[in-house]
């Protein structure tokens, strides 16, 4: 407990960590402003503007139509055709002002996989950086050896640091997600757009798992940095795995490999299972009678259990390797 308190203090005193934690609050706040602005109700002046535009367009169209009917030869109306019908097709009339009001209203349930996912992704990236920079600084400054001169039990040191990172990032992520959805709730309430309690239940579950994911990402970043002993090396490996690794995986194994890539499993974990395209069965069609055939959609389902197990195994392997390496290797 004493070591945990020390590591929490060390974490709190690290300026880079404080900046990243501030980003965990500020960036979602900006996203929220964007969401509120992007889904704001249509104002009376916007409706009037759209109606004016439609009236102008309709007047221009009517003039073109009248001209077309009056001079069908100028419009290459084929002989024998009724100009009134053909000109209607050429010029078009009767626009609706609602066509020009494309802004969608706030849909709370849909935001779970929209901005809600964006916030969780952002939090996970930032907390992973927190874990990485926290451990990386100890190695870069060489202060790890000094710490071990005071507490030589390396497993305790590793666990205390990991616990500090996990606890801090879990609390911050949970708080930010609670604030986010609280703000969305207030926003929806102010616009009389409340979602069902079922939708809120799904949102709460996703937010809870999102907090766990962000805290887990932080410990994963920490564990990898304790393994590689370098912030840059960890970020390089993460980038390679996230971008090149996934692309190569799918290129070699095809769409079926999507089951094994990180984003799909994260989606399954966050959203209580996920449907994804793996191409299976899309070329298998069956005769359903009356000359009609029905083909497979090529979609597959990945369950929450599978996604959770996948993430736990990855996390466990990284943590075990890191701890083993820290206990065995010489400390510079």
């Amino acid at each position: 407990m004493r070591l945990l308190t020390v590591e929490l203090t060390r974490l709190r005193w690290r300026r880079a960590v404080v900046v990243l934690l501030a980003c965990c609050v500020v960036i979602p706040a900006l996203l929220l402003l964007g969401l509120a602005w992007g889904t704001r109700p249509v104002s009376g002046s916007e409706i009037q503007q759209a109606k004016d535009m439609v009236a102008e367009n309709n007047r221009a169209n009517q003039e073109a139509y009248d001209d077309c009917v009056a001079h069908p030869d100028d419009f290459d109306i084929p002989p024998g055709e009724d100009p009134a019908v053909i000109c209607k097709q050429y010029t078009g009339v009767d626009e609706d002002y609602r066509w020009y009001l494309t802004r969608q209203p706030l849909d709370v349930a849909a935001e779970r996989e929209g901005t809600g996912l964006a916030v969780i992704s952002l939090l996970s990236a930032l907390t992973m950086l927190i874990g990485t920079t926290f451990a990386g600084h100890d190695w870069n400054s060489g202060s790890m050896s000094n710490q071990l001169l005071f507490e030589p039990r390396r497993r305790r040191v590793w666990l205390a640091k990991a616990a500090a990172v996990f606890a801090t990032c879990l609390v911050v992520s949970a708080a930010v997600l609670a604030l986010w959805w609280g703000a969305v709730w207030l926003l929806a309430g102010s616009r009389d757009l409340q979602a069902s309690s079922h939708a809120w239940g799904r949102i709460a579950a996703s937010a809870g798992r999102g907090s766990l994911l962000a805290a887990g990402a932080a410990v994963a970043g920490y564990a990898l940095t304790m393994l590689f002993r370098s912030t840059v090396a960890t970020l390089g490996v993460m980038f390679a795995v996230a971008v090149a690794g996934q692309a190569v995986f799918v290129a070699v194994l095809g769409d079926a490999a999507l089951r094994w890539v990180l984003p799909t499993n994260i989606g399954a974990f966050l959203f209580n299972g996920i449907d994804y395209y793996d191409g299976s069965g899309s070329d298998q069609c069956v005769d359903v009678g009356n000359g009609a055939v029905e083909c497979g959609t090529g979609m597959a389902h990945l369950s929450l259990a599978f996604g959770s197990t996948y993430l736990l195994v990855l996390f466990g392997v990284a943590a075990a390797l890191s701890l083993w390496s820290f206990q065995r290797r010489d400390v510079p």
């Binding site: 004493r2 070591l3 308190t5 020390v6 203090t9 060390r10 005193w13 690290r14 300026r15 600084h137 100890d138 400054s141 060489g142 202060s143 790890m144 050896s145 000094n146 710490q147 071990l148 001169l149 005071f150 507490e151 030589p152 039990r153 065995r328 010489d330 400390v331």
Partner: protein
């Protein structure tokens, strides 16, 4: 139960280089540091001093051999004895963005020492006025002093200091040496690894000299120096005097008009032998050997592949085996 504070037996450490070669850093090192006083740990660069210290402190794993601190086997039971040990290994290593005080607070709290202990330690090394500055803004001397302050947080019974006066100004060096002597006089065992031979000679009661990972000599500093005491002897008949002294068992060589006598015996043996031969002295000057000459002699012999006196072992120099 041994009275030795530090003991190693057959300690070995080998590294594998990136090219695949095996580099021997420490070979069959037997080190014995008794409790109390200041013990010098001397050796040229790359001789294995820091590697030995790092192994003792659990930062590096030995390839072979055994180590004991306060009679307790380490690294297995290192946590049991670590609260009694303060150490500075190589250059001071702290978080550069934290203040000196913050760095010490974290270390003190990790061992359950009250924050007031930090103030005392900072006061001891005269850093109280600058404890709020970031570590990265410290001069090298201030960093060294902070590192020493960190060792004092534990109120150690064994202090292991690796080049502690590096980068200090003359006043700082004197302060640190006085602190080390004072700690030694108060019963703290200090292992002082240093390249500065005069420092070891001034500060240490005993010393161990290593070269190429092997122990070359160990003992009280006076004994290490005294074993090769030399005298300049001026006489009217140097050839006859040389014959008399050789017959008495002394090692003698002639340098111009004077004789140079190497002997472990006290000087009155020289005067008596000459007087008994009817030769009278005009000059008898002890040319005191210093630790530097002993050190250079031993390490040179180590490099050349010869064993040295004073308990030295045959040395073959650093070995690299592919």
């Amino acid at each position: 139960m041994s009275d030795l504070v530090i003991e190693t037996h057959g300690l070995n450490k080998t590294f594998r280089t990136r090219q695949g070669a095996v580099r021997v850093a420490v070979r069959d090192l037997d080190l014995a540091v008794p409790g109390g006083g200041v013990h010098g740990f001397l050796g040229p660069n790359g001789s294995g001093k820091t590697t030995t210290i790092r192994m003792l402190l659990g930062l590096s794993r030995p390839t072979g051999g055994t180590m004991r601190l306060f009679g307790t086997e380490v690294p297995r039971h290192l946590p049991d004895v670590m609260p009694r040990i303060g150490a500075v290994v190589e250059s001071p290593k702290f978080s550069p963005m934290f203040t000196g005080r913050q760095n010490l607070l974290l270390l003190a709290r990790s061992i359950g020492e009250p924050d007031a202990r930090v103030d005392e330690a900072l006061e001891t090394v005269s850093l109280s006025g600058r404890d709020g500055d970031r570590y990265k803004a410290y001069s090298l001397g201030m960093k060294q002093r902070l590192a020493i302050a960190a060792t004092l947080l534990k109120q150690p019974q064994l202090l292991i200091l690796d080049e502690p006066t590096n980068g200090l100004d003359p006043a700082g060096i004197r302060e640190i040496r006085e602190t080390i002597r004072d700690l030694g006089a108060r019963g703290v065992t200090v292992l002082l690894s240093s390249h500065i031979l005069a420092e070891v000679q001034q500060v240490c009661d005993s010393a161990t000299i290593i070269g190429h990972g092997r122990m070359l000599a160990s003992g009280r500093v006076e004994d290490l120096i005294g074993s090769s005491t030399t005298y300049r002897v001026g006489v009217a008949e140097p050839d006859e005097a040389g014959r008399v002294l050789r017959a008495a068992g002394h090692v003698v060589r002639r340098e111009g008009a004077v004789l140079v006598v190497d002997t472990p015996e006290p000087p009155d043996r020289i005067t008596r032998a000459l007087a008994e031969g009817g030769i009278y002295l005009s000059e008898l000057v002890p040319v005191r050997a210093d630790l530097e000459s002993v050190f250079l002699e031993l390490t040179e012999e180590s490099t050349l592949g010869h064993g040295a006196d004073l308990g030295a072992r045959p040395a073959t120099g650093a070995e690299e085996v592919r």
